[in-house]
C-alpha cells in the first residue's frame, strides 16, 4: 500500500490564480477594541482597506490572515512535494 499523497493540481492552480489577483498584502485585521477604535472592525491591505458588513471579528481575522496564510501553505506544499519526490 502506497503512502503517496496525490495533490489536486487543478485546484491548487485555481488557488494560486485567486491569490495572484488579490490586493497587495500584507493584510491586517483591525479589530475594534483590540488594535482599532472609533470604527467597525475591518481589514487593512497593502494599499488601503476593506470594510465589511455582516462579518464577525473572527471572519475578519480569518480573511486578513488568509492573504499571508495561503502563500505560506502553498510554499509548504511545494517543499513537501519536492522532498517526497527527491
Amino acid at each position: 500500500m502506497s503512502n503517496k499523497v496525490v495533490l489536486d493540481e487543478k485546484r491548487l492552480d485555481a488557488i494560486r490564480e485567486r491569490l495572484k489577483l488579490t490586493t497587495l498584502g500584507p493584510w491586517v485585521a483591525y479589530i475594534e477594541g483590540k488594535n482599532h477604535e472609533s470604527g467597525s472592525s475591518c481589514i487593512g491591505t497593502g494599499i488601503g482597506g476593506i470594510d465589511l458588513d455582516g462579518a464577525t471579528d473572527a471572519d475578519i481575522e480569518f480573511m486578513a490572515h488568509a492573504r499571508q496564510d495561503i502563500p505560506y501553505l502553498l510554499a509548504e506544499l511545494e517543499r513537501l512535494k519536492a522532498e517526497s519526490s527527491g
Binding site: G39, S40, S41, G48, G49, D53
Partner: protein, 153 residues
C-alpha cells in the same frame, strides 16, 4: 485667572466661528437651531452642536449595534458607541487614527436633536475619542450615512 479663561473662550469663539463661516452660517447661530449656544457649551466642557462626529466603517444599524462595548438600553437606544469628535476639527483631522477606508460623518447637534449625546472620552493616545449614546441603531445609520472615503486611507 479670569483673563486666562477669557482668552480660552475667545480662542474657542474664533475656532467655532471658523466652522460656522465654512458652513455659511453666521457667528452665534446654531446649525438647525435648538442647541445650546456655542460659548456656553465651551464653558461647560461640552462639545458644541457644530462639532463633527466621525465613525469608521459602513455605519449600518447592524454595525452600530454590534460595535465593541456597545449595548442597547431598555428603550432600544445605543450606549457606548466609540466615535471621534472635537470642536472645530475637520473630518481629515478627526479620522487620522481611524483604519477604515470609509467613514460616516454627522454633527453633535444632529445627534442631540435625535435625543442622544456625544461625550468626550479622550485618552493620551487619542484625545478626540468620544462616546455616543441615546439614539437607536437605525437613527445612527440615518445620521452617519451615506459614508464617505476616509481622507487618510
Amino acid at each position: 485667572m479670569q483673563q486666562h479663561q477669557a482668552q480660552i473662550l475667545n480662542d474657542r469663539h474664533y475656532m467655532v466661528a471658523g466652522v460656522f463661516s465654512a458652513l455659511g452660517a453666521g457667528v452665534g447661530d446654531t446649525i438647525g437651531g435648538g442647541g445650546e449656544p456655542e460659548e456656553e457649551a465651551a464653558i461647560a466642557g461640552r462639545l458644541p452642536d457644530s462639532a463633527l462626529v466621525c465613525r469608521g466603517g459602513l455605519c449600518t444599524a447592524d454595525r452600530f449595534a454590534n460595535g465593541t462595548g456597545v449595548t442597547l438600553d431598555a428603550a432600544g437606544n445605543l450606549q457606548g458607541v466609540s466615535v471621534q469628535s472635537a470642536a472645530g476639527k475637520t473630518v481629515q483631522e478627526l479620522t487620522v487614527g481611524v483604519k477604515n477606508p470609509k467613514v460616516g460623518v454627522t454633527t453633535v447637534g444632529d445627534i442631540r436633536r435625535a435625543g442622544g449625546d456625544v461625550v468626550p472620552s479622550g485618552t493620551p493616545g487619542n484625545p478626540d475619542h468620544c462616546t455616543m449614546c441615546g439614539i437607536t441603531p437605525e437613527k445612527a445609520e440615518e445620521l452617519f450615512t451615506p459614508v464617505q472615503p476616509n481622507p487618510n486611507r
